[in-house]
Symmetry: D2
Subunit: 168 residues, 4 copies
C-alpha cells in the first residue's frame, strides 16, 4: 500500500523566519511519524524549510516542481516530480496529499487550500487566518485550525488509539 | 491579433438566482462590446447563465471543460475545449483570459481568483466579498471591486477615450 | 451546440514548404465548410500555415498555446488558449478536436497522433507515413490515410448525403 | 540532491507475459542499483510488473496516476502521485524521469516515447520495434535499443568507470 503523504504549503520567497521555523519543525514531526512530506519543491520559504526539517530527521521528501527540470528542486528534496505545468501543478499537490497543511502564504497557497477543499481533501491551517472565506468547509468538517506544528500532528492522528492517521 | 477574452467565474450548482441574473447580464454586455466570453463550460450556475447572456446577444462563448468530452458542455458554449484535467483546468481558465470577473462562489471560484492573481492577471470581484484575504493584491492594483455588471465593463474599459480595454 | 472542431497537427520549425502549402489549403477547406480549426497556436510551420489558410478564408481559428501568454500566438489565431503546460497541452489539443489531421512532423506530432488514438479520436494522416506503428488502430477503424487536403475533407464528411461530418 | 529516477513504460492490460517478465526483471535491476523506479502507477501489465520487481528487491517505486485517488494505484507503488489529468500525465512521467525505458506497448507508450524525445530525454527501447518513425532521434543520440533488461542497465551506466549513470 502506498505511503501516507502530508502536503505542506505556504509562502515561498515572502515567508517569514517564524513561519520557516514552524515549517522546519513540522517537517521534523512528519518524518518522525514515518510519513512522507510533499511540497512544491522549490528552494524557498516554507517549501525549503519543511523539506529540510523532514530530511534532516530521516524522512522522505517529494517536491512537485512547476518547471521542467529536476535541477530547480531544493537540495532537501529526495524525489523531484517535474510537471512543466507552472502553478497548474498546485492541483497535483493537493490530489497527491492525503491531508494538506497550509502555513501563511499568498495567492499560491490560497489556491492550494481552495483546490484541496473543492476536491474534498482535509486542510489544516497552521497559524493562517483566512477570515470567513472558507467557513462553508469548516462547517462540513474539512477545514481545521492549529496553532503549533505539534497540534497539526495531533489533528492528523485524531483520536485513534493506535496512533495511525485518523481520517484516511 | 487574437480576440480580447473576458473570463467569468462563479458558483455552479450553488449559484443563487440573483447571481445568475448578474451573470446573464454580464455575458450580454461582454457580447455587445465584441469581446469573447470564457468560462468553465458546464451547464450550471454562473457558467450557464453567462454563456447564455453572451450567446443570446450575438457573442462568442468558450468553455474550458474539466472533462474529456464535448458533450458535457452547456448548450450555450460555441467552442468547447476539453481538458480532461478536472479542476486543473482552472489554471487554463485564468491564463487564457485577459481579465477575470469573479461572481460569488465557493472553493472553485476562490482557486481561480488566487491562480489569476498569482499569475499577475487583473481580477474584478462582482459582489463577492473575499474579506482581507487578497488585500496584498488590491494594494498592488490587480484586484478590483464592482457592484454591477455595468461597472465591470467600465473598469475593463478604464479611462481610454477610444473605448478599447484599458490595461491590456 | 458547440461547433465542429478539426485539429491540424504537423511540423513546426522543421516543416517543409510543401507541407505548409498543404496546411494552408487544408485550413482554407476547413473554413469553407464552416468548421473551426484548432492547432498548437505557435507562429511556425504547419500551425501558422493552417491558421492563415483558415483565417484568410473567413474561418475561426483556435490556438492551444504551450506558454502562459497570449502574445506567443500566431497572428492568424483568433482565440488563444494559454495553457502554461508546455507539450502537456498536446493532450488538450486532441481531446478538444472532433477529428485530428496529422501532417508530417517529428516527436510532437507523433505524440498527438498517439494521444488521440489512445483516447478513441479519429486521426487522418495527410501524407505522413508512420510505418506499422499504429496498425492496431488502422484495423479498428480509427486511423485513416489521405494524399491531399481535399481527400481529408471527404473522409471527414464520409458518405453522409447531407454533407455533415460523418462520424461525430 | 534528488534521487536518480528511471521511468519504465509499456503495455497495460495488453502486455504479454514475456514483457511482464522483462518488466519485473528490469524493476529488480533498477532497485539493486539504488535507483528509483517511476511508472504510470496502475495495477496492470508492465506498470504492475516493474513496480513489483523493484519493490520485492528493496527498491522505491513512484506511480504517476491518471486518476484523482490514491486507491487506483498498484499495491507495489510506494509513492502515489494523483494527477487527475488522465493521459495528460504522460508528460509528467517523462519529465520526472532521468531516463525512459520503453517496453512494447500501444498508443499510450508511443506517446511517452514521443514526449520524452521532444523534451530531450534519453529513451531506451527494450525489445520494442518502432520502425523508422523516430530515426531522427536515433541519429541525434537520444534513442537507444536494448534486447535485455541487463543491457538497459549497461546503457544507463555507460562507460563511466565508477558505475554512476553516464549521461545525467
Amino acid at each position: 500500500m502506498a505511503k501516507f503523504i502530508v502536503g505542506v504549503m505556504g509562502g515561498g520567497e515572502n515567508a517569514t523566519e517564524k513561519h520557516c521555523r514552524w515549517a522546519y519543525r513540522l517537517g521534523e514531526l512528519i518524518a518522525r511519524e514515518g510519513w512522507v512530506l510533499l511540497n512544491g519543491g522549490r528552494p524557498a520559504g516554507v517549501m525549503e524549510a519543511s523539506a529540510r526539517g523532514a530530511r534532516e530527521n530521516g524522512g522522505l521528501t517529494i517536491g512537485i516542481l512547476p518547471g521542467r527540470v529536476h535541477s530547480s528542486a531544493s537540495q532537501y528534496i529526495d524525489i523531484a516530480i517535474a510537471t512543466g505545468m507552472g502553478d497548474g501543478r498546485n492541483y497535483i499537490n493537493v490530489l497527491s496529499s492525503h491531508v494538506i497543511v497550509a502555513l501563511p502564504g499568498r495567492a499560491g497557497t490560497i489556491s492550494e487550500i481552495a483546490l484541496a477543499l473543492k476536491n474534498h481533501k482535509r486542510v489544516i491551517l497552521l497559524g493562517f487566518d483566512t477570515g470567513n472565506l472558507f467557513s462553508h468547509y469548516q462547517q462540513s468538517g474539512l477545514l481545521y485550525r492549529a496553532a503549533t506544528p505539534e497540534e497539526v500532528i495531533n489533528i492528523i492522528k485524531g483520536k485513534q488509539g493506535d496512533g495511525s492517521p485518523a481520517f484516511f
